[in-house]
Amino acid sequence: MAFEKDFNLDATELRLGLPGTSEESEKQASTTLRISNKRAMPDMNEDSSVAADKKCDQETAPPTKAQVVGWPPIRSYRKNSLQTKKTEAETCGMYVKVSMDGAPYLRKIDLKMYKGYPELLKALEDMFKFKVGKYSEREGYNGSEFVPTYEDKDGDLMLVGDVPWEMFTNSCKRLRIMKGSEARGLGCVV
């Protein structure tokens, strides 16, 4: 096995870790142990501190997301990359500009607010006071002057609704509601 033996001593390795959650009692114990172990000042009551720790277990209700330093034991690099994904995806919101042909100014919406295309289209209809037609994969939007389009990561102009929702939210850079003759050819199949 040409695998980093020197580094990982992984010839035979068994790791059973029990990270706590706020539900489990040992996590509560560990949380309070950590807090009470902070020794900025010399602690004269050495013999009472252990008892105090044990007492803390029952009395203190830990906050739901009490985080012990270095727990769970995952490398910072991995934690950071998972967290980045979460932060990118959830905290920041996904604001994109929305323009409508003929409208004097643009709007901005947060794509994260919508669960799928129907909600998004409804929101756009409400915002700009128009109606989009009926969507079909073959013909695009039928029955309306207005066609919702978007600019993707590659800079291409795409019809809203063709790709899965997740993929759309990941690649949509801005929305554009096209009008009239310009819309023909994009959504319609001859």
């Binding site: 390795e13 870790g17 489990e24 004269m44 910072s76």
Partner: protein
């Protein structure tokens, strides 16, 4: 032995490659010591402060390949402050000055500056392999120096490092004449990559066997690279997001068909669902699959993929695979030796996806399993007690060959009794939030004769355990104890009695005053054996006793 000329002995020693064996050889007699000394090319230093660069060079002047480890293991989990130490520069400086013919350098948890990378790249004309694991302190400028100056470079392997990205074109710094690359791994880099340079580099590297891309390399680039390098054995994809009905996706499917040599697959740092079927054709030959960064894949996609991987020996995966998914692993991957299940959501227990059930399924279905990392966020109290009391005892009793073990939570001294009794091959032990009394630690120190590294956090072990057998620490590489019951006085005693140990106290509080009460409990203590005494580069918050 006097009858053999030195060259013959040297030739014989060439066949002895393990560090331990070569160390033993050098102890036999003076002439063996001398021959071994001059013929030794590979040296492993588990703790960079156990010896100085100057002494290393004097001891092994023929050094060509060096492995160095810096910070204590718990630095991986943010328990060691920045600036603690582990600097590479003094080593490079000393080796450059002494004209060591360095060819390979492998570093773990070291602080590597751009300056040291630049000096490295200019000082060793035969340099060919650089492997950095969990290091920090450098930027893409340092990588540019390596690329530009190391004419014979074969391997540049960056694993999970914190690299400052200056958006320079470090990849373009590989000269057009450089065709020697065998392994290139830049998956941990966060910034953009010059894609054209990458493609040209891959195209002119016929020996390239291992290629791991970063997130900035888009899906359609992957297909182009595979066309250039169908001989790849190890592939790490970059971004794997695309429309399954697109032209690029079809091209990828075609390119993959010709990659018959791929045995190891990783990456998927960004992944869209419904794109994984493109790789099914290579799954049947895979021995290593790492999907532990592919947060976008759901359980059923994972299991669909794994069902094709009958030859898998090592699997790294996220816990969203679920217990059922692990059941599929158990029934498909009969050759499985190593399993790592990482939490997809380390801070929020809400969507816990694997329980002890998954673990039981795998252990039942995979008879060759010998290495396991398993994070399960939900375990009933009953199961917890079962695992803690029965399984640990049973596992430790049956795994007599166990070399490395990590334990935490709700474990009594009894468990350590078993460990000391049965785990005679144990070399590394990590303990967290466990144990009842000093007895626990003593069982381990007394019983585990081969123990090299012991790291303990948040356990009720104190002075009595620490001081019981001080000589033991000279047989070990290092001991880490944090948030335990050890006092400053005991640490001072230990330091005074054992001059061959460095006892470091890491004190992060505001207090600078050294003459505190000896009864004060120490927050973090790290001790290690050394032949060179106190290190000179310790920061203010590290007290050397």
């Amino acid at each position: 032995m006097n009858y053999f000329p030195d060259e013959v002995l040297e030739h014989v020693f060439d066949f002895i490659t393990s560090h331990k064996d070569r160390n033993s050889v050098s102890l036999v007699c003076k002439s063996w010591y001398k021959i071994e000394k001059f013929s030794r090319q590979k040296v492993f230093i588990g703790n960079c402060y156990s010896i100085s660069p100057e002494r290393l060079i004097a001891r092994f002047p023929g050094l060509k390949s060096l492995t160095l480890k810096g910070k204590p293991h718990f630095a991986d989990f943010n328990l060691v402050p920045d600036d603690w130490g582990g600097f590479l520069y003094p080593w490079i400086k000393a080796m450059a000055k002494s004209r060591i013919g360095l060819e390979e350098l492998r570093l773990k948890r070291m602080v590597v500056s751009d300056e040291s990378l630049e000096l490295l790249s200019k000082s060793f004309p035969n340099f060919r392999s650089l492997v950095l694991v969990s290091c920090e302190g450098f930027s893409t400028d340092g990588l540019a120096a390596i690329a530009a100056n190391c004419k014979l470079l074969r391997e540049l392997d960056l694993q999970e490092n914190e690299v400052e990205d200056h958006r320079g074109h470090w990849l373009s710094c590989f000269p057009e004449t450089s065709t020697s690359l065998v392994s290139l791994n830049f998956a941990c880099l966060k910034g953009e990559i010059n894609l054209a340079s990458l493609e040209r580099l891959v195209a002119r590297s016929p020996n390239l066997k291992s290629l791991r891309l970063n997130r900035a390399v888009p899906f359609d680039m992957l297909q182009k690279l595979l066309m250039r390098a169908p001989q790849l054995v190890d592939l790490g994809t970059g971004s794997y997001v695309h429309d399954p009905s697109s032209e690029a996706y079809n091209k990828l499917k075609a390119a993959i068909q010709s990659c018959n040599s791929i045995r190891s697959l990783s990456g998927f740092l960004e992944v869209a669902p419904r794109c994984m079927s493109a790789i099914y054709p290579i799954c049947k030959n895979l021995t290593f699959l790492n999907l532990s960064y592919a947060a976008g894949l759901q359980s059923n996609e994972l299991t669909n993929l794994i069902q094709h991987c009958r030859k898998l020996q090592r699997l790294w995966i996220l816990d969203c695979i679920g217990d059922k998914g692990l059941g599929v692993v158990a029934s498909t991957c009969k050759e499985l030796q190593e399993l790592r299940v990482f939490p997809s959501d380390p801070f929020d227990a809400g969507n816990a996806a694997v329980t002890e059930e998954g673990l039981v399924l795998v252990s039942a279905g995979c008879p060759k399993l010998n290495s396991l990392l398993y994070f399960c966020q939900q375990m009933t109290n009953a199961a917890l007690i079962t695992v803690a009391k029965n399984c640990f005892g049973a596992i430790v009793r049956s795994c007599k060959g166990l070399k490395r073990l990590s334990l935490s939570g709700l474990l009594t001294d009894q468990v350590f009794y078993y460990i000391g009794m049965y785990a005679k091959q144990l070399e590394m032990l990590s303990i967290a939030f466990a144990g009842d009394s000093d007895k626990g630690m003593l069982y381990v120190l007394n019983g585990c004769k081969k123990l090299r590294k012991l790291e303990i956090r948040d356990c009720p072990f104190g002075d009595a355990a620490l001081l019981e057998d001080m000589g033991k620490y000279e047989t070990m590489r290092s001991l880490w104890m944090s948030s335990c019951e050890v006092t400053l006085g005991a640490c001072k005693t230990l330091a005074k009695k054992m001059p061959n140990l460095n006892v470091e106290i890491i004190n992060e509080s505001e207090q600078v005053e050294f003459n505190l009460d000896d009864r004060l409990k120490v927050d973090k203590m790290y001790l290690y054996r050394t032949v060179v005494g106190h290190r000179k580069d310790a920061p203010e918050f590290v007290w050397l006793l």
